[in-house]
Amino acid sequence: MRKSIIWLVCVAALAALPHLLSFSQQEILVVLVINILLVVSYRLMTLTGEWSLGHVVIMGVGAYTSALLTKNLGMYVPVSMILGSLMAAFVAFLLSFPLFRMKGFYFLIGSFASAEIIRLLWKRFRDPFGGPKGLKLIDGLPDINIGPIHIDFFEPTHYYYFAVIVVAACLWILWRIERSLLGLTFHAVHWQDKLAQASGVDVRRFRTLAFVLASGFAGVSGALLTHYIGTINPNTFDVELMVFVLTWAIVGGTATFYGPILGCVALTVLNEIVLREMGFEQARPLIYGVVMIASILFLPNGLESLVKRGVAAWQGRTGGAGAKEKTP
């Protein structure tokens, strides 16, 4: 009962949120929702212990695929989005063969190199990728008219609701995976791959599975983005965005499901709302950099560790048992 009330309040808050914001803030909100899916899917990949620098380009694979399918084949947008996601997963599957020969630092560099190659291919081949200028006038979601209800997805608020529903569905799937025996296996592969393998876990297969799944959801976020902003080019998915994703994950912390979401929301609010309103436009990367270094130095377990400590303190004060903190 109490749980369903909390859920209702959350849904109501999410529904009301865009109406409290200005138009430009609404636009940022849509991108924020998409980025949340991006960073949570990134965390799924890090669960097995490998940190990739190719996630954003994989997202771009979803974006390019979905955009090209609608532009060139006139495909219905929601279908193209699903195919875009599948394409991202498929590309990740192909990349897993060379990449999972590497580990740690080498995997990081290898993922960066292969992603950069994909990005340069978009740049090199005008047909079909549009070269450095990319793709323009990408179809949005078609309008929906049911009797008196008229939904125009060029309206940020409307697209926001669509994005929230899609992202919530994806997050639910990711959450279920994390909590399942599958998620447990991912953790096992991360912490002690030799012991996992001796227990019959095909480590390579589960690493690949996590990579492919994470990439599929990154593809969804790419498709969501492309049909919202309507124009993409190779620089939309450059290293800078990858650095942001990395920062969100690290500032938020990756030990919990909500950590990266926390990092993404906190830094986006800081970045877009606070800094932009205060007119620090040019200094934004500077402050981002400082926040990044400061959080690595002084909050190595991320914002989530603050939440955990807060919860523990609160439980301790109200005399609740089980205020034991679990170190990540």
Partner: protein, 256 residues
């Protein structure tokens, strides 16, 4: 006469120019505790790693029941009923005791995306937890279910490593120096547990440096020296075997 559970035939392991194991052959009978002993550097651990799939043998064959497992990877070997433990306390230190043993039930309850998203997961999980509890119960660890494995006392960590292996429901368990770092009392308790495992029908192959520790425990012993088979037989035969005495004394003299 039945065929042995595990047959090692002419196993050879070479690393570069170094031959760590040289044409080693021995059999492990079903339902026994079999010891693989030898002085330091005899190639025991290398043999062990080759059997469990950690290394790929340079040549020779390893036959489990009537199937060759030489060159298979560790998880493939595990699926065929041979499970190993590791030296020291190799565990998922950041996970709870229960979660550790749940990894051991991986083969019986294979996870997949579809299971994760359907009701099957809850069903699998309760089944897996029941099996895990059995294994924990066997090693007297049921009181530590929610403890992080890294925070367990050392002796219990060793037991947990074996519980993970037991949860895999193997036919044969390979134990890598299971008594290292244990005090006499812990050693004694561990021996009792091993005998219980044998009574439950498991075959155990253990690698041990200290031959006296396992004399009373093993049914058969294979002794190695410099990568080669030195002697095999019952503990009495090994204890009185002149070559074994020479190897151990020679080794001791060498160290001194």
């Amino acid at each position: 006469m039945t065929t042995p559970l595990l047959q090692i035939r002419d196993l050879t392991m070479r690393f570069g120019g170094l031959t760590a194991v040289d044409k080693l052959s021995f059999n492990v009978e079903r339902g026994v505790i079999h010891g693989l002993i030898g002085p330091n550097g005899a190639g025991k651990t290398t043999t062990f790693n080759a059997i469990s799939g950690f290394y790929k043998p340079t040549s020779g064959d390893i036959i489990l029941r009537d199937e060759s497992i030489a060159g298979l990877q560790m998880h493939e070997v595990a699926h065929r009923g041979l499970v190993r433990t590791f030296q020291h306390s190799t565990l998922f230190a950041e996970m709870t005791v229960m979660e550790n043993v749940l990894v051991g039930t991986h083969m019986e309850f294979p996870p997949s995306i579809w299971n994760a998203l359907s009701r099957q997961d809850a069903h699998d999980r309760s089944g897996a937890e029941a099996k895990a509890m059995e294994a924990l119960d066997f090693f007297g660890l049921t009181g530590f279910v929610d403890t992080l494995a890294g925070e367990l006392p050392h002796g219990h960590q060793r037991a947990l490593g074996m519980a993970v292996a037991l949860a895999c429901r193997p036919d044969i368990m390979l134990l890598d120096e299971p008594f290292t770092g244990m005090n006499p009392e812990e050693t004694k308790r561990m021996m009792t547990l091993m005998q219980k495992l044998r009574e439950a029908g498991l075959t155990l192959l253990l690698v041990e440096h200290d031959m006296h520790a396992i004399m009373g425990l093993c049914d058969n012993i294979t002794c190695m020296s410099f990568g080669k088979l030195l002697a095999e037989g019952s503990p009495q035969e090994i204890r009185n075997h002149p070559d074994v005495i020479e190897a151990y004394l020679g080794g001791a003299r060498h160290v001194a």
